[in-house]
Amino acid sequence: MHEVQPEPVPVAQKAKRGRAIVITSGKGGVGKTTTTANLGHALAARGCSVALIDADVGLRNLDIVLGLESRVKHNLLDVLDGTVELDDAIVRDKHNASLVLLAASQTREKDEVDTEKMKALVERMREQYDYVIIDCPAGIEGGFKNAVVGADEAIVVCTPEVSAVRDVDRVVGLLGNKFRPQLIVNRLRPALVKKGKMLSVEDVNAILRLPLLGVIGDEPEIIVTTNRGEPIALRKDGATAAAYHAIAAKIAGEDVAAPTVEIKASGFFGRLGAMFGGAK
């Protein structure tokens, strides 16, 4: 009996295949779009080519969070219909040219998206980009199904609230065996956790039991960044930017320390400290 050697794959023939990751949650408002935008920037900052797809047809927001809303001329449905080429529909980011956006349509409905075509599109885009990240809409209806179909990795975003945990749990169930989702706990307020008025990361993960990818604190500054359309990951300092960069590093395979969120000093001196380079 001799061993069957696997056939060596000639290096030249190996097609590039980027990673396709869907960001989902079930519950709305937990930070999927914000996470998609910021992770996109963080990965692009590492030198990767990143394509972001907004799958929230009819209620698009990834464009406005990225500050690219005025540049969107064509959208996902135009590409799926074949009326526009992919290259004409994608919008290059203002700050980092290796990050692009394929916006959702604002005027069409989610049930107009053909699942098979969506899958094929994501597959195509994986040949061109290191990462294809799909921003999933809230809920578990058609929009969710289409967002998930092209991906083979999933990140679930959860806030430390009972409704969110319940919804994420349901979504993890629906994602099924194809995925081994990783968890980001978003909008944690350590001070409240300490007072027993908010679930801790451990509480959340005792129910969800998922590998923890990252923890992000509740940062009012996010509102300002969305006002301006300048995602926080573009900043060089601040805990939230750092958290997104750490998550990106982990996704890229780096061995990153376990995520934590410190209790930030509040009040005037705390804010002053934050302005001058990070308070701990």
Binding site: I64, R71, T107
Partner: protein, 139 residues
């Protein structure tokens, strides 16, 4: 540190930026959600223009574009002839040129004032000839 000075000297605060961005994006959203209204607007617009110049209705293009801080309507209207009686009817014996000339009209549909571009007429204005003169043959 830089953030501190940015905040101090920021020309607009972020809520004003947000308000402007929202206004523009909602206008764009509303326009894309009302194709029938836009079709009707195009028809009305063309009807008005057609009082002054004869236009090639089939080749008219009207688009909306976001230009920096404002939303603009861009119309490209091929002109076949300029009406002698301008403002009333189509006129008889209007000088017909062989190829349509185009005039770009820029109409601003914005909240912020945009500098208005005057209409550029590429063909020389038609002269009103005495009644029994015949138009010179076009070259």
């Amino acid at each position: 540190m830089i953030e501190f000075f940015r905040k101090l000297f920021a020309p607009t605060n972020s809520s004003q930026t947000a308000k402007e961005r929202l206004r523009l994006v909602l206008m764009t959203d509303h326009l894309s959600l009302a194709p029938e209204m836009i079709e009707q607007m195009k028809r009305d617009f063309i009807d008005v223009i057609a009082k002054y110049v004869e236009v090639d209705r089939d080749k008219i293009e009207i688009n909306f574009e976001q230009q920096d801080k404002a939303l603009a309507m861009l119309a490209n209207v091929p002109i076949l002839a300029v009406n002698r009686n301008g403002g009333g009817n189509n006129g008889d014996g209007g000088k017909k040129t062989e190829e349509p000339k185009t005039v770009e009209a820029v109409a601003a549909a914005t909240t912020a004032p945009l500098p208005r571009r005057k209409r550029r007429k590429k063909s020389p204005p038609a002269t009103v000839a005495p009644s029994n003169a015949s138009p010179a043959p076009a070259g």
